[in-house]
């Protein structure tokens, strides 16, 4: 136990950036497994931070540690400037939390449930609950047990957002929501960011939060394997390339194969001086166009980068390393 004697983390206030969450070397060992093996990350005030990882990667464990529902076995954690372990109820009134495995009382209407949470939470502006419910298309007068999974999730979102907390910690917030509601949720995230609130989201699909998150940490087996902006992830992701050119396929292949980041998949002769090529490409588009300069291109398709695939690759291949700082390029 390093608590107490350990040097305190100071909130960084330089260049106007203040971190709402600071985590250093956070580890959590349960009886039979190590859920977190030392992760570092920081979330600046007013930003949206996403954590992506497969089931069991440690996302929920990390979030529960931030709320002092469980206690990390090592590392230092600061949430809103205090150690969650020592934080009083005042700190948690400034946080909105949506658990990953949302359990709600059954024999109670949404309205009464929200009234109870309002009573033990930060002050809720009058009309705010109804406003959020209307936005999500949620009937507050139905008993919770009669609600579908998606509607229960909406109740969970309302209780997290209703007191407009400084910090929102949302574990799999879009789980159970239909695509329309997922979009509405992204709107709520945008509004919250607009008000200066900080958000920490998790998902096992990057597609669900890529539009919302400024930065993304990819978590695997209790370690952060990469922290990057969505743009950085996208830039490194492989895209599918198809070229149709008025040339022999061999010539086409010879022109493109030396390109860094290009992986040839297939070539096909479609006729006299008509060749097609398929490849996966993760290099720079400028270099690609340059390589094609001497070829008479008839058609070119360069698909949107597949972020999901890029993330899956990170899940699978990269060795875990939680020791690098968020925002810094990996060595």
């Amino acid at each position: 136990m390093k608590r107490g004697g350990a040097p305190r983390l100071a909130l960084r206030k330089g260049n106007g950036m203040e971190n709402v969450i600071e985590v250093q070397g956070m580890a959590k060992r349960f009886a039979h497994r190590e859920a977190l093996r030392g992760i570092d990350f920081e979330i600046p005030r007013g930003s949206v931070f996403g954590v992506i990882g497969p089931n069991g990667a440690g996302k929920t464990t990390a979030m529960r540690c931030l709320l002092d529902i469980i206690r990390p076995t090592a590392g230092q954690v600061r949430v809103l400037g205090t150690d969650p372990r020592r934080a009083g109820p005042e700190i948690r009134r400034r946080i909105g939390y949506l658990p990953g495995e949302l359990a709600l009382e059954r024999r109670i209407t949404g309205r009464r449930m929200m009234a109870h949470f309002a009573a033990i939470s930060g002050p809720v502006a009058s009309g705010r609950i109804e406003e959020l419910a209307a936005r999500l298309g949620l009937d507050l007068d139905r008993q919770s047990r009669k609600l579908s999974k998606g509607n229960k999730q909406k109740l969970g979102l309302v209780q997290a957002f209703m007191h407009d907390p400084e910090l929102l910690i949302l574990d799999e917030p879009t789980s159970g929501l239909d695509p329309l509601m997922q979009r509405e949720f992204l709107g709520m995230v945008e509004d919250a960011r607009g008000r200066g609130q900080t958000l920490f989201l998790s998902s096992h699909m990057i597609g669900e939060i890529e539009q919302a998150a400024d930065r993304v940490a990819i978590l695997r087996d209790g370690l952060i394997v990469r922290t990057a902006t969505v743009e950085e992830l996208r830039a490194g992701a492989r895209r599918r390339l198809r070229v149709l050119a008025a040339t022999e396929p061999e010539t086409l292949a010879a022109a493109l194969e030396p390109l860094p980041g290009l992986q040839l998949l297939d070539t096909e002769r479609l006729g006299e001086r008509l060749g097609a090529l398929e490849a996966r490409f993760s290099g720079e588009v400028g270099a690609l166009l340059h390589a094609l300069a001497g070829v008479e291109v008839l058609d070119l398709v360069l698909e949107e980068p597949d972020l999901e695939e890029a993330v899956l690759e990170l899940y699978g291949s990269l060795p875990g390393n939680g020791r690098h700082r968020a925002g810094e390029p990996r060595p």
Partner: protein
């Protein structure tokens, strides 16, 4: 008025009471029905009938059931209701409430979300213990009123003041099963842990008393039986026994304090 000023006092206790008031009323009805079933039988049983009944029962059974004082009104009320059915039913309510307070709440996954809000773990334990106390106190008021109402018609000849003291002591006894159940849940994190701890205290206390009644060489068991502390002194006839009263009150407080410590020092939600 600022929103903070409107924050309700003891929100968790209020919620716990509000969530259970229907079932509390049902239990009150059950307890009154049991009283109405048993107490009016006293006049017909007192006298030769009772002598015959007692003569027909084995000595050990009479001692185990605490029927040795049954020939008086106070002894009858204590043996039939406070010592047996009333104790059983009230303990079921107390243990159920205590096990629900932390263990069942955690089993259901609800405790996690409650603790993520502006409350402390200490507050959760204390407010829910208070709700348990109030719920049981309400049922005791119902029992007190019920016995008093039947006192005349059933020719029990009970003293209202002594009865009040007896009910107060009885409250602390059944409460002990409840606080033990709350402690079990706070330590183990499951309803079953709470129920087991509560049942151990209630049934164990009863068993130790019944065995201790059997003879002088087993009498030492009385010392470990909360049931005996509370009822061994015939409180319906003799009123409160202050050492028993404070002993039971103290043990209740210890159980709640231990529950606070246990809940503060562990992870919520298992895994």
């Amino acid at each position: 008025m600022t929103p903070a000023a409107r924050r309700p006092v003891l929100p968790l206790m209020g919620k716990a009471l509000l969530d259970t008031w229907r079932s509390t009323l049902v239990w009150a009805l059950v307890l009154v029905s049991v009283l109405a079933l048993y107490l009016p039988l006293y006049p017909s049983m007192a006298g030769p009938e009772m002598e015959k009944l007692l003569a027909s029962l084995p000595e050990e059974l009479i001692r185990a059931l605490n029927y040795d004082q049954i020939a008086t009104g106070a002894g009858y009320a204590q043996a039939t209701f406070f010592g047996l059915l009333g104790f059983m039913l009230s303990s079921v309510v107390a243990i159920g409430t205590g096990a629900a307070a932390i263990g069942e709440d955690e089993d259901a996954g609800l405790l996690e979300l409650t603790l993520a809000h502006g409350v402390t773990r200490t507050q959760v334990v204390l407010e829910r213990s208070l709700a348990l106390l109030l719920r049981m106190a309400f049922l005791m008021v119902v029992i007190y009123a019920g016995v008093l109402a039947l006192n005349g018609p059933s020719e029990l000849g009970l003293d209202a003041g002594m009865l009040f003291q007896a009910v107060a002591q009885f409250l602390l006894l059944v409460l002990l099963g409840g606080t033990a159940a709350l402690l079990g849940g706070a330590v183990g994190g499951h309803r079953t842990h709470g129920t087991a701890a509560g049942a151990l205290v209630a049934v164990g206390g009863y068993m130790l008393n019944a065995l201790g009644n059997q003879g002088t060489d087993l009498e030492w068991m009385h010392a470990f039986s909360p049931y005996h502390w509370a009822l061994g002194g015939q409180p319906v006839a003799n009123g409160i026994d202050w050492s028993a009263f404070w002993g039971l009150a103290g043990l209740n407080i210890v159980f709640v304090a231990l529950a606070v410590v246990a809940l503060r020092h562990r992870d919520i939600g298992g895994a």
